[in-house]
């Protein structure tokens, strides 16, 4: 680890989920290749967007980074320390510095705890502050995310989806973490509320110098919030670049198709746009295609694509793609 600016370095991360058969004698008959060898870095203070369609492994990536799932192989360096080798108390100490905001604001808050207990819980577990100090801090946090501190005694069901997501944000902020993994934090919210939460996340980043891994399937929102964007398909990252570079010059055919599929709220632009319509569905991650994973839906696929796994190459400075023909396709 040479670069001090790198907060998180993911090195060849792999996560398989076993598929087993039998009740008494369990036998593994296969595996879901959820994440299959991905590497990237997150710079301190930046937002890295991770996009992909459902089932591509983006949420698993987020959870494996935080060691909520233990990886099958690979390393995760957080501030130079390999989290994969840590256990027990050592890991718990590191956990303070990485938090998560979940997709579903209805399922991620315990309905039997008050908002104050929910936001205060990380403080109870990780610090030795007195009850009174925690109460005070909870009030501050509620104010910070735009809620009334008097709400601390209420229960989650008394709040709307957007307000609940704010509670989730307050909980993630409680321990002043360095990294927050945002796992589709806005996809369950209405459009007008999405903008509120995104603006809040941006404000907090400016105020506390937070680093975000922002996982989403909404490419327009990812372009809006991220500094750099990584595109995932079927367990692998196919392309990574600075946000404008990726959206202006996508190299990978999948990125190109994905971008062209996103509707733009402007009828005169929509009239002139030509869509790349992908054929068929995403193959099963239990038995992913050989070579390049995208080849079954790629109109440029040649023989080499089924034989060799495309190399992860830097095509322009800071612009990486995994395609045999990257840079040669129109």
């Amino acid at each position: 680890m040479t670069n001090d600016n790198v907060l998180l370095k993911v090195d060849n991360l792999v996560k398989y989920f076993p598929i087993t058969q039998g009740i008494i004698i369990r036998k593994q008959i296969g595996a879901v290749h959820a994440v299959d060898g991905i590497s990237f870095e997150i710079i301190r203070g930046e937002t890295l967007g991770l996009v992909g369609e459902s089932g591509c492994g983006k949420s698993t990536t987020g959870r494996t980074i935080l060691q909520l799932y233990r990886p099958t192989a690979g390393h995760v360096y957080f501030d130079g320390v390999d989290l994969v080798t840590l256990k027990g108390n050592e890991l718990r100490r590191m956990r303070k510095r990485m938090q998560m905001i979940f997709q579903d604001p209805y399922a991620s808050l315990n309905p039997r705890m008050t908002v104050g207990e929910i936001i205060g819980e990380p403080l109870v577990i990780h610090t030795r502050q007195s009850g009174k100090a925690i109460e005070e801090r909870v009030g501050q946090l509620l104010e910070l995310v735009g809620l009334n501190p008097a709400f601390a005694n209420r229960y989650p069901h008394e709040f709307s989806g957007g307000q609940r997501q704010r509670i989730g944000v307050a909980r993630a902020l409680a321990l002043q973490p360095d990294l927050i993994v945002c796992d589709e934090p806005i996809s369950a919210l209405d459009v007008s509320i999405q903008a509120q939460v995104v603006n809040l996340l941006e404000d907090l980043q400016g105020q506390f110098g937070l680093t975000y891994l922002f996982i989403a399937h909404d490419l327009s929102m990812v372009r809006h919030i991220s500094n750099r964007v990584a595109v995932m398909y079927l367990g692998v990252i196919v392309e990574l670049a600075e946000r404008n570079e990726l959206y202006d010059n996508p190299y990978h055919p999948y990125t190109q198709a994905l971008l062209s599929a996103v509707p733009i709220p402007d009828p005169s632009i929509e009239e002139r746009r030509r869509r790349i319509i992908l054929e068929g569905d995403v193959p099963s991650p239990v038995n992913p295609p050989s070579g390049c994973r995208f080849r079954t839906r790629c109109k440029f696929a040649k023989e080499i694509c089924s034989l060799e796994k495309p190399e992860w190459r830097e095509i322009q400075p800071g612009h990486y793609a995994a395609c045999h023909f990257a840079g040669e396709l129109g």
Partner: protein
């Protein structure tokens, strides 16, 4: 001007619940011409689905009740006609596709059986004839090897494929109107693009009218001829698609467009969020339903609820304020 197929006037639907009456749709009027695509946009709970379900008399009653209004389909009122008569129209001349392709099918019947049902009921085909037509329909919506798949069950199809089957079922009887209730919300963007392309193609081939309900202003931009924006059970603005996107007048429409990040925008701009929360519909306000969240609200907005009135040729608006000057119109 093409013929008016559907003319909805002052439709009102309420739900009586143990917590009180929910005023879901509060006097909605719109029409649909032959061959036209109308987009209805709004956030969850704004009454867009309930309007469509009321029109087709698919509201569970009780608790739901259509308390006022007409829905004239080729001159006949759907609201007051007999149950038998509306059954002839529903699934035949007007058909509907739903948001969730997972729960809209019966899981224990084969696809062939379910898609052939409307053909047998509305077109009087025998089961054998109907099955033949089902294969053609599945072919038309792009299901590979349609002939081998009619004996499959819904769970054997992926989400996108299931939505295609639902479209095939909806188109089985050559409807005049297809109502699409957020048909792509549960799907990934690349699959969404497939489905939108499919509906556009079929619309132009068959020449039917489409009502497309969505919360996504992006989809509607490339699909609709005209767009109605709903809020709190009212249509608050309605205009031809280009007019609405270039000259939105209602503060809610303006806010909604501003809160969308755009894929084609290079520079990071702060999103203009709309403060506050969507309304709870336990009362029918005597004021403008958007006033509590509106930054332009003036005194009158709190006293009277504006009606949907002509603002410009074919542009309708329900608002007291001129957003350019900030003063009352």
């Amino acid at each position: 001007m093409p013929e008016v197929l559907l003319d909805v006037q002052d439709l009102e639907t309420q739900f009586r619940t143990s917590d009180g009456t929910i005023y879901a749709v509060n006097g909605v009027s719109f029409n649909l011409h032959e061959g036209e695509t109308l987009g209805i946009v709004g956030e969850s709970g704004c009454g867009k689905s309930v309007t469509m379900l009321s029109m087709l008399r698919l509201i569970p009653s009780p608790p739901g009740k259509i308390t006022n209004g007409k829905a004239l389909f080729l001159g006949q009122d759907l609201i007051t006609m007999s149950d038998e008569a509306i059954r002839q129209i529903r699934g035949g001349q007007i058909s509907m596709i739903f948001q969730d392709p997972m729960t809209s099918f019966n899981p224990v019947l084969t696809i062939g059986r379910q898609v052939s049902e409307p053909l047998e009921i509305h077109m009087g085909m025998s089961h054998q004839e109907a099955l033949k037509r089902v294969v053609e329909l599945l072919d038309m919506v792009g299901i590979p090897k349609a002939k081998d798949r009619i004996n499959d069950y819904p769970h054997q199809f992926s989400g996108g494929m299931r939505q295609r089957v639902m479209i095939a079922m909806a188109l089985a009887c050559n409807p005049h109107i297809l109502i699409a209730d957020e048909p792509t919300t549960a799907l990934d963007v690349t699959i969404q693009a497939q489905i939108v392309e499919l509906v556009k193609r079929l619309r132009d081939e068959v020449g039917m009218s489409v009502i497309w309900i969505t919360h996504d202003l992006g989809i509607i931009a490339g699909l609709a001829d005209r767009v109605a924006v709903m809020y709190g059970g009212y249509i608050i603005e309605e205009a031809p698609v280009k007019e609405l996107y270039t000259h939105p007048q209602h503060p809610y429409t303006i806010g909604l467009l501003g809160s969308l990040p755009r894929l084609d925008r290079k520079h990071r701009q702060r999103l203009t969020s709309i403060d506050g929360l969507p309304p709870v519909l336990y009362e029918k306000p005597h004021y403008c339903p958007f006033a509590p969240r509106c930054k332009y609200a003036v005194e009158r907005c709190w006293k009277e609820n504006p009606a949907l009135e002509k603002f410009d040729t074919s542009h309708y608006l329900a608002c007291w304020v001129d957003t350019e000057t900030g003063s009352e119109r």
